[in-house]
Symmetry: C2
Subunit: 389 residues, 2 copies
């Protein structure tokens, strides 16, 4: 009764009412003309969002399912791929490669830092046997945004496929496949798309499709070539998550009405708001430079642990934030600022962060942090993100 | 896309999801045992909320309908009643009395001030022919809260019925009929009850019922004695607004879970937040002392007009506030803080107020207003309202 509950987790996110109501509509069957028409509408929106020359396939899975599908569709057992490993989801690429018989060559990047495109080029030069680079656009576990455009400048002139996990990036930060020359881009529904979890989306470049067509199918379920044939007919190989597709159509309509530039501008400004507030509080932003536009991580000082801090934030302020992951679990708080939230919601997050930090015995700087955060927000919103993004 | 839209109007208000979902359930028919059971559940909750010894009647009407119903049920044409007229809704009592042949004796109170109980006593002493006092608990047009408890101390020892318009008060501020000795209390659904408009509720004291039973019915529709008979059987005389009753049951369940003390404490604290923020901005609180707990009015300085200010607040901040009424239309902004909103929503309202005020050329004091507002909120929340309230 006292407070609303607000999700600031880096997925799932709060959802707009239009999408929730769309998903509450009566069920339709997927082997119908009505569903095919919906799929075609969704395809048009997704191609624009992904900047893809080909279909963007929906899969009934989490984002991890699409990662595994990509690895199996594009590489053969025994093939070497370079994995940019700068966080938990970089490590997931390595695990997926191992599980499916690929040979991951790990390019380690300290948590909190972005990969250097020169290091990627160096690794590829050193081993011409490497035929792919697997990377995150936004590393959800650290709040880093890797310079995918610059990495693509390294891969696209080589016989090396660049596979991008865009789970915390697509519709949060620009990630244009064709313009940048990405070979595979995938995402999940529960982040920038403002949908519940359960739907993954994946697109391949023409040269990636060419590669995929030459390889024998390694999965019955995640068979991208088969999915592509169905998709061109407005269908999917297996039963699709119908309500999520209905919600996706609504989500893409919302993006269409607002314009993608506005969507990215908003994310840029919300990031500025959170970073501005955290700085004004004198807390430690984990990512100094290459920060993601959908999640901000804060390193806690010695003696303050994320567990009690997050419990206090939830109980007193209705604010649900995330801890760090693995080694940073207790040392980090992550504020997700993706999905259906706005500047006012994020004031609650900052207020809860400050109040809970103090409650746990921390000292954080004084007054005026909300106004400083708002100043940063309006400045960023009015100026827009740096171009080219 | 950039901002959510938040209603800070003094009714209708934002509604909780539980209530919206309850109202979206499939329709039920009202002449059924299921509806009667619902009505009985609602009665139990309403009697507690109103502190009523008798039924609390639902009427398919706005709050004004219930005001007219009360005037007609309790007084005869030619009868004199004292009207406390300190705002637009005080004036409405006078208009209703005139429309139905009563003789209103107006006790004028300057807008922004509360009536003096001594003045009520004086007026009654001066004219023993007055048989009722009509008053607002909260005067929505000004943001004043009249001292209804003290007024009831004047009326309850006399043969004078005290009729209270609790439209902006019931479930916002304590208003216990029996404990204070009110003879009639009424409200509308679109304020503290967190429901859409369209439902009014009205309760009478035993002596008011005794009076009502002696008078001939003056309305076919607003016939409280007939409604009471139906209500005791779990029904209503005419088709009730079924979905609103379903929503009301949900609203009363939410109050029951939280406890009424918590509901009032929250309203008290939200009022402190808004008043604290407005003070920190150096703006002019219209009501100095006897302020309502659900709406705060701000007097604008010469040269700043509410129209453009409210338009800016809506367009840039997604914040919908209200203008003043009548002579104060352009000179006043009213922030409603009732219904389903919390401290974080109200930060948006204060930020929009400050930003739009500056946009319109006004100067308002500087930094730190959000933190000062929050300090006031938490202090008020932790301390609770002054007792007895």
């Amino acid at each position: 009764m006292l407070t609303k509950t607000r999700l600031f987790t880096p997925g799932p996110t709060l959802l707009p009412e239009q999408i929730r109501l769309a998903m509450a509509r009566d069920m339709i069957h997927h082997r119908t003309a009505a569903f095919a028409a919906l799929m075609r509408e969704v395809q048009a929106g997704l191609r624009l969002l992904f900047d893809s020359e080909d279909v963007v396939l929906p899969l009934a899975s989490s984002g991890t399912g699409a990662m595994a599908a990509a690895a199996c569709a594009l590489f053969s057992p025994g093939e070497k791929v370079l994995v940019v490993e700068g966080g938990k989801f970089g490590e997931r690429w390595t695990q997926i490669c191992r599980a499916h018989g690929l040979l991951p060559v790990v390019l380690p990047v300290p948590w909190g830092e972005a990969v250097s495109p020169a290091a990627v080029a160096g690794a590829l030069d050193q081993d011409p046997g490497i035929s792919g680079v697997l990377i995150q656009h936004a590393e959800t576990s650290t709040g880093v945004q890797h310079p995918v455009e610059a990495v693509a400048a390294v891969t696209r002139s080589r016989p090396v496929l660049l596979v991008v996990d865009g789970v915390s990036a697509v519709s949060i930060t620009p990630c244009p496949m064709t313009r940048w020359g990405l070979d595979c881009l995938l995402t999940g529904s529960q982040k920038g798309l403002m949908l519940p979890p359960g739907l993954a989306l994946i697109a391949l470049s023409p040269r990636a499709w060419a590669r995929a067509e030459t390889l024998p199918a390694r999965n019955f379920y995640f068979n991208l070539c088969a999915e592509r044939k169905y998709c061109l007919g407005g269908q999917s190989a297996f039963t699709p998550p119908v309500s999520l597709i209905v919600g996706l159509a609504e989500s893409l309509r919302l993006f269409g009405e607002a314009g993608l530039a506005t969507v990215y501008r908003k994310q840029w400004a919300l990031t500025a708001l959170v970073r501005g507030g955290v700085k004004a509080l004198g807390l430690d932003l984990f990512v100094k430079e290459h920060f993601a536009w959908g999640v901000t991580s804060i390193l806690l000082p010695e003696g303050i642990s994320s567990g009690p801090l997050l419990a206090r934030a939830a109980e007193r302020y209705g604010v649900i934030m995330a801890a760090g992951q693995d080694a940073f679990k207790e040392r980090m708080v992550r504020i997700g600022h993706m999905g259906w939230l706005d500047y006012a919601d994020l004031l609650a997050a900052l207020h809860a962060l400050a109040g809970s930090f103090r409650f746990c015995g921390g000292y954080c700087g004084g007054r005026n942090y909300l106004e400083q955060a708002l100043d940063a927000y309006w400045t960023a919103l009015d100026e827009g993100p740096p171009l080219p993004v």
